[in-house]
Symmetry: D4
Subunit: 222 residues, 8 copies
């Protein structure tokens, strides 16, 4: 006999515990499961933003229909975005191919009420482009660097700012980039002290790390 | 003809630019070079703490003799530590073998004026040990997690706090730990949103990342 | 001249020898070969359950048509499932994406007469979820942990039970999970003494390992 | 200010929780720390065997002096070994170079009261050697297979027994064995259903896994 | 100005030089290029067998139309197969999924006039299957072992014969087999002295290696 | 609020700075973005050749329509190719499967005014083919070697010429070639002193490296 | 209770079974164990050559003292070398650093009665050196190629002979050679059809493979 | 019988063929072999510089005694250095730990008559240091970049010059640098078009590549 308890185990307390509410990661779930998970998280009243990430169109549709009030963002649907909060994040990308990952981070930040400035295509092959961002780098509360290939932008940016630098290796490019592994290794071996790294293509994680980092400014869960 | 400009290129402005002064990394330098590099960084008057890291005894001795006023720390000699600053960092280790890396991070934090609490040996095989730190985890401004083997402590700790979590994979253990590569990969693949990672055994980098993260509380270079 | 003896070599004695009957692994076989292999294993009378695993619809259909009496399970078609036997297995998954692999293990167990309880979505980012399973963990005869990403659930669960823990790394997730290699390495480097590991996505193997482990309770082949 | 709580966090409840008492892993600890850790675990009265593993001579000496009553084993010093318990384990090695890892497993088993039979040098290049162990393989409650190089013995042994098979990849050999990684991968990819694997050279872990597996026969903590 | 000499450079002397005629590897060539390459190799009169390997249907068709007299084999089309020659090759596969690679080797052997016996599905999980081939193993002039997963069959077979053993790792299976890399490493780390290995899925190369090995019996190019 | 500055950051000065104008890498850009990027680079008047690389048909079409005057090449569309310049490059490929990568290099050279001679299919299995190129090898100003599999042609060619040798590993072949990683490692470990290597399948990079190498003959930007 | 059967399990029948007698691999054995193993293999009267390989001086001494009549060779001590047998092996090395591995193969061949010609330092950077061996390559019964770095010599040699080519990757060199892994991968990806490969630095294995290959000339065990 | 032709095979024509004379790589050679190899290369009269590289003191001494007239350099002893030739090479290092590799390249260049400028410690963490070299970068005929860790300096430097850029990954650093593999991958994945790469720590190879690249200015062998 199989006792099947394979239902989703929602974690509605996560927002109060960690300042980041549970997100519904769509891949591997049916449209109904997606819709139900969102509903479950919304059930107890607003406890942080609810995100449905990496959803296919039919998952989006099912979730939307059952749970009105969603906003569509680059990180997926969002319910109950937080009101504006202090803290500005500068998101840099090395190339335009890194934009989808960067936009995912931006959308997470927006859901948590944080402003961000997204500046694309400042890879180090033309160094003046990142140097032109020096003021923004100096003033940002957090800097997110999104880069594939050799990921050198993380080291360069970290040398130009005292802000926390969160690097996101991407799988853009081909061949020697090894689908992001090269950038991951390079960023964790950075010569600029204090660079930190999240997983390959993990714009969602970078956004969450930035939300954590901004906690001193926001005072945590609101 | 060889034009040799192989002398050290000191970067005394780095503290003003990034809030973290240049450190002198001893390996590969002669005792005299170490002493001279420290002297050079001290020359212009106090511009942030000066650290001499990973130095052998004869390098320590030479640097000390030429540059009085150093304090010995787990991260090496320190001159011009900053006065106390707000911000408390909780440093957790999975095992006692991770302590040298953890103490390096602690010493960097001390040099920049930050308090820290170092709690060792709270690996997840006995979960009550990390659960006993829940209050500290909730109150810390930054959490550094130092772990080798499978590095699971990073994911667990991040689920218990809203603070930024900086994970340091270590090469402790043997065999399947692959000298830290296993923990590095596992930490960057963490299921807890917002974990960030520095390089293998890089306690210095973790300390610097924490200093950056605390900038909103300190207001940067002092 | 080619002497072709490329026919399947069935191993009908395997059940008596190892307590686990030969299974027919469908990929790479024609529908007819699948049907014939099942028929061959059934020919000598019941000698343990016969499973047809990872079969495509046309393979399923051919096997079914020629060999009546099959039950459809998450591990494929099953003929001659064993009667109920003592021993309960707790199957935990870190996320819902790990369910197909977990269900394959559950189905193997069912074919051999063992009860199992499948509890999904207890990943360590919300530790209370696995802690809520403490009683089940303490009472299970065997625990199977199915997890991708960094696979930390295996270490945590093994710290909460004295039962044998069989960990299954999965390829769920993307990027730094390296299609299951990260979880495989992490699980074999676990800090919890006594965790054992099977291959990536190998729910079938985990089920078989559990059947072996339960032999003291069943007395072997029945 | 550094709040230093870097002392060992002993887990005296682990034996009652998991049936396996905490062991003191010596590397990275001072002789005094080793002695104190053992003393701490012994303090509350017998709660399972206490092992000091991978200790250097001066660590052994310090621990022994402070804590009388130890027995020297291949897995290190043992205090409070358990009385004889049911369950026999067959430990096979492919070569004689695998013996230190195998003896570590044997010693863990002895500490927990289990008999074991250690049969060395039955690598598959001379298949009659493992075939001569067929009776023992059929009768064992658990089989541990210790092998380096290509680790083929695990697959072969698992085809000859219905007992649980715990495979330990070793770093013996050179070159293409990649210090145990080749055997680790091979064992997790075994064609024999139900092989489980622990970390490279992890004889201690294999012993613990066997103790867990024998729990149905012993009824757990005694 | 581009001087384009990108035409195929045929090597019609290769058969006389190495006993193995140049083969036309179809992938990346247009149907016309395939047909022309075959024509070119046939142009100077019979100089060893001409094979067109890994060709898609339209490549096969074009080559056939322009160059009559081809025989279709598992290794592709063959023109001018050699007359029967002494030397018998035993080709073993671990599973049925390895058959396409094994048949490619068999077809190369047939093109060079050598008999072969193909015995499938003798993987080591049921050892009696390979033991039943002991006579064939003892009598074969060359043994080719084709296996994926952990590739253990190569070590076992080599312990049962004094013939040269050529092992072919295959990408069959999934997960921990790492698309053949696990078997490749395991086979080159074999504990059976004298196993040699060709590339992953390289049945063509194994066939050629066997032709080379049989040269003492054939006296080379005919 | 999101400040979006995700537009392309063109680098029109790159040609004057490095002698190689910025190229528009199409993947990840919309047809309109491709067209606009080309237009932007052409806007300031001729400043080196403008290339649109790896473009899909609809990207090609959009770029062409908005920016007349393009030539179609193996490296994509080219505007403002430079007039003929001194310097001849010999491009060798090991097999015909390496041709697309080689042609990309040839097209980059043509855009910068350099002649090249492309000689395909001179792999080392038939050594006379590369030996027949000895005169060309001795006379070339630069040699580019394009090879997959084991990449041995780079070492052999470099032993026959005093010209700079730029090696391009390709992902042609299968299995043990590991999608170009084997050739990449082999080429960087070459026993011929002075071989240099670019990324896997990076014909564009090899062409650019050759343009840089020819600068002493051309005097740089024209 | 531990039943210890950890004694060596000698395989005196191996010579009759496989034509290659068991060798005593010294690492990990005490001098006495070495001496006893040799004595055991010699006990039943001559059954093929007995080799003691990779032995340290004290192991050599103990074995020699107990078992008179040994000859010292590059593969270690040898007792009962076989009388001269037909078959000549050409052993080529790319560099002089590869000589120890090559000499091990030569010594194995000598123990089995086979002549060999060892030609060192014919790496492909100066191609005339291997071309000067064309006659020897054409006439050899077996060719062994020993090379580190990129291992290109294997492909080149195999293009010049119809003999079986056994390639041995070595760990000579540094950096990108990755301690032999680069050469191992490159040799298994060779573009020359029919190259076979043994493990890294495995001169012993290459010698054994050659003995197997020469069996048609010797008729097997003598 | 063993025909031993294991003597060095000198290649005195290499200088005329490739512009780079054969060097004597000391590791693995006896002092006498080193001395003899140098003598052999000097025998026929000056045919390019003779280098003895990576020699231990006793090898240096033996070579010097037998062959007077050597100069000691960072790349080892040099006989018959070439007279001054046109072409200036800029050698940049990221850190001081990279200096030994950089000096090896400088010494090779000096032996071939080329001037070089060595500028150390211009890593990208303080970007002004490399920006201060802009003039030198623009004027150099060749740029060699020597860097470990993430190797980002190669991409940055290549964006500031039109000269050929030869990147040398080094094994300096620890942990995530993976002994140079990280830098090797990162440099071959560079976003700056036209970067080329030599092997890990291969300063000798970088020097030779630069000599090849300067051939248009020197006209080859002198």
């Amino acid at each position: 006999m199989v006792t099947d308890q394979a239902e989703l185990r929602l974690d509605p307390e996560r927002f109060r515990r960690t300042g980041i509410a549970e997100a519904v990661y769509a891949p591997g779930k049916s449209p109904e499961q997606c819709a139900a998970a969102v509903a479950g998280l919304l059930a107890g009243g607003p406890a942080g933003p609810v995100l449905l990430t990496r959803a296919a169109p039919e998952q989006v549709e099912a979730a939307r229909e059952r749970n009105p009030g969603a906003t569509e963002t680059a990180a997926g649907l969002v319910w109950h975005a937080l009101p504006p909060a202090p803290g500005t994040v500068l998101v840099l990308t090395a190339g335009t191919g890194d934009l989808p990952v960067a936009r995912e981070a931006v959308a997470v930040l927006a859901a948590y009420g944080h402003d961000s400035t997204l500046v694309a295509d400042v890879g180090v092959a033309g160094l003046h482009r990142v140097l032109a961002q020096r003021r923004r780098l100096a003033e940002a509360d957090v800097v997110i660097v999104v880069a594939g290939m050799e990921g050198a932008l993380a080291s360069v940016a970290a040398g130009l700012t005292g802000a926390p630098v969160i690097a996101v290796p991407t799988s853009t490019g081909y061949g020697s980039g090894l689908e992001g592994v090269t950038a991951l290794l390079a960023m964790t071996a950075s010569c600029s002290p204090g660079v930190t790294v999240v997983g390959i293509d993990n714009g969602f994680g970078a956004g969450c790390a930035a939300v954590r980092t901004l906690r001193p400014l926001t005072g945590g869960p609101r």
